[in-house]
Symmetry: C2
Subunit: 143 residues, 2 copies
């Protein structure tokens, strides 16, 4: 019941249903903060001490390959992961490091590009300072 949703996702793609994959999917579904592989690993390890880091990487790779999750290259340091939902962009705050969803899809990019190359993924991100960090600065130094 609890995992049925994720079982179905894997069944659709005819890839093996394992407890590790289900846990990772559930984790990404509940944690929409674009975690790293390491964050997923350490958090899930609490309830499953035998979990291997390699398994996390392998699972993320196959889930990405079958279009169940997205990878986000934005920090330049590590890959972030995101369960697939409606297309959106990301905003990364250079101060606090947070990656925030931006519910926008870049219009007419797809059409514009259907001229030779085949697009399989669309990624957009911005970098700057998030509202919260800006507000903190104002508090600190006076407006």
């Amino acid at each position: 019941m609890m995992y049925e949703k994720y079982v179905d996702l894997l069944k659709e793609k005819s890839i093996k249903i394992t407890p590790q994959r289900l846990e990772i999917l559930r984790y990404l579904d509940k944690n929409r903060n674009h975690p790293t592989a390491y964050q997923i690993y350490t958090d899930l390890k609490e309830n499953n001490p035998s979990l291997s880091k390699t398994t996390v990487y392998n699972s993320l790779e196959i889930l990405n390959k079958y279009d169940i999750i997205n990878t986000i290259s934005i920090t330049g340091l590590e890959t972030r992961y995101d369960i697939k939902n409606i297309i959106h962009h990301h905003f990364m705050c250079k101060k606090c490091g947070r990656i925030i969803d931006i519910d926008i899809e870049c219009p007419n990019i797809r059409k514009t590009l259907e001229q030779g190359h085949k697009i399989e993924e669309v990624h957009g991100y911005f970098k700057g300072r998030c509202r919260e960090c800006i507000e903190k600065e104002i508090d600190q130094y006076g407006s």
Copy 2:
């Protein structure tokens, strides 16, 4: 004469003018194929055997900080570098790995987002199969 253009770029930002920085800038200006730090390092080392990898990283960092170059996080593996020119997006071919410039700026993203967060960088990229790889496949298997 040859390096004047790059000297000016550094002067504008009041950062020190060193032969290493000038060479890196010239390299990025001539090589618009989004090289990695390692590629820059090995290519420039040919004419300057004492060049250090750390210098390349340090220089790229400061050039990026002062908005003279751009960093591109797209492969998830390493950072790519691009001399600053008009805003454009990128297309990465999943087959051959090439990163191609797409001369498009996502319209009205900037305005849409001026609601709290401050945008300092706009990045957009697509992944898929480039025209050349697609054409090769057709050649191979018949159309």
